[in-house]
């Protein structure tokens, strides 16, 4: 058994050959030009964000002149800090609530979906699989407007606001656990489950005690992806939000970055970023524990290759 499931891109991508690392380190290859391009690209892609984080700790109001380190925009500024400005505080809290709710619903649902697709063959599951993949590539705005119209014109048991947002997010994110868990199920194959059945496990017991533990890395990765992605979501949550109490951080940034900028926005974005990073670290630690218990090699590569 290998820890690394087939790369999920292999499902998204067109062919599924096993990962090969053979290209690494071609002897005598000189690639200074390419190395420079890569370095410049990385600088270009990450430096602006680093500066944003840096200026969230600025003493003054400026977002371009450094006036000394302070936590003013996080804690003690009487009106502008993320603790004291109610709209920012509400937005942060709501973002986390949405992320937790959406992850808690999306991941189990997606795993069940993947299990169902794995064993039920025929036209209906093929169609369902197709739909699930379409939600992956359809512009988010289409789903958002569709749900907005649905909530507005149809009598639905939920109105605009938190639940509409959660439902939209779950629908949009469902493809992650489905694709990742299916890839993993394909590499696991059917014989483990058959062996469990032969040893007397019930159908449900075989899934619960054999398949689910083996799926763990895939579940973990999809949970991290969904959580981090929901933290960042903008289009869906904006159209499905009802009032100021269901605003998220991305909506605050969108609404005020140009009109009423303040380093508190940087601070808010930094908090979200920190939580995303924390999620990945926690996920990594959980994965390492799992891998140890299974007696597998636990390095970044084997987790990343689950992707």
């Amino acid at each position: 058994m290998t820890v690394s499931a087939a790369p999920a891109e292999a499902i998204l991508d067109s062919s599924r050959s096993p990962r090969r690392r053979a290209l690494r380190g071609t002897p005598g290859a000189k690639a200074y030009g390419l190395a420079t391009i890569t370095a410049v690209y990385l600088l270009w892609s990450l430096l602006p964000v680093a500066i944003t984080v840096l200026f969230s700790f600025n003493e003054g109001r400026s977002r371009s002149t450094w006036q000394g380190f302070s936590l003013r925009w996080y804690t003690w500024d009487p009106t502008g800090s993320i603790i004291n400005d109610e709209s920012l505080r509400v937005a942060l809290l709501h973002t986390f609530v949405l992320a937790v709710l959406a992850t808690l619903i999306t991941v189990p649902l997606g795993v069940l979906f993947a299990l169902a697709l794995d064993r039920w063959r025929g036209r209906i599951p093929a169609g369902a699989n197709f739909l699930a993949l379409i939600t992956f590539v359809i512009p988010e705005i289409a789903l958002a407007i569709g749900l907005l119209f649905m909530v507005t014109y149809l009598a639905t048991p939920f109105g605009l606001g938190t639940w509409a947002q959660v439902i939209g997010l779950v629908t949009y994110q469902l493809a992650y656990p489905i694709v990742i868990c299916r890839a993993r199920l394909l590499t696991i194959g059917a014989h483990y489950e058959e062996a469990a059945r032969d040893l007397g496990a019930s159908a449900l017991g075989a899934v619960r005690r054999v398949i689910l533990p083996m799926l763990f890395p895939a579940i973990l990765v999809s949970a991290i992806l969904v959580f981090a992605d929901v933290l960042d979501d903008f289009v869906l949550v904006r159209y499905l939000s009802s009032d100021a109490s269901t605003e998220t951080t991305s909506m605050r940034i969108y609404a005020t970055a140009r009109a009423a900028p303040s380093p508190a926005l940087n601070a808010m974005a930094t908090v979200i970023l920190a939580v995303s990073i924390l999620t990945i670290v926690v996920g990594w630690l959980l994965f390492r524990r799992w891998a140890r218990r299974q007696g597998e090699k636990a390095d970044m590569g084997s987790l990343a290759s689950t992707l």
Binding site: V49, R63, V170, R182
Partner: protein
Amino acid sequence: MVWIALFFLVPLYVVLCVAFGTSDPVFRTAIPIWNPLEWQFAQVQVVWERLFGADNFYLPVVLRTIVYVVLAVCGCLLIAFPVAYFTARFAGRFRGLVLALLIAPFIISYMMRMLAWINLLQPDGLVNSIITLGGLLPLEVNWLSGKPYVVVMGLVYGYIPYMLLPLFVALDRISPSLLEAARDLGAGGVSTFRRVILPMSIPGIVAGTLLVSLPMMGDYFTSDMLSKSPKTTMIGNLINLSIVSPGQAGQAGALLILVLLVLLVPMVWYTRSNARAEVRS
């Protein structure tokens, strides 16, 4: 599956009904028509008129969107290809680190990355203070007031990770023995690239292009954040404006359907080719 049917198919149907519905003459709210046989095409006609009729102020927007997206996709490809190629082939012991840094933008919120550029490009931002050497030179540029190249740069910046990963996966799969074989058979660097590497990276290029261009088509926030000017309006902005202004829900729906119809072919093709690849394995 019920979930997807309920919250994916039904909303799309409602969009159709709203787009083909009428609007209330008094309150200017849209009245959807549920029976497909009674659908009216007034809203679609309005949109069509604005696209191709006498009053065609949508058309420049559509053309602009296409130009922006094409430019941004080319930009993504030009930057992502060498980076992905380097990471796949030459990164050596830095490979893990470089890969982690390439994935990093995924976990940074899109809005935060736009905010970063707003900070840098604002009139008294760092970019201006660098090019004017702290106010010495009169080179100050108001970057955020409807500069098309700033918007295209923002699109490239925002979506390039989605181009990098599929490219990396495709390039990573090319076995070096193939490259050695090409060299043994007398191919030089350029012709190895052109005749071996490039053809083999086509799946990655196609996947990356689709993953990047489809969301760009519905994007309105990049233009809103980095320009706020009607000079850089994209299709996404049109849809967004129709949604937030009263009485135009039907037009938003009609516009959305037109966009989806155009995008349907690449979306279905991409999804099917994936599904087929899955079956093959």
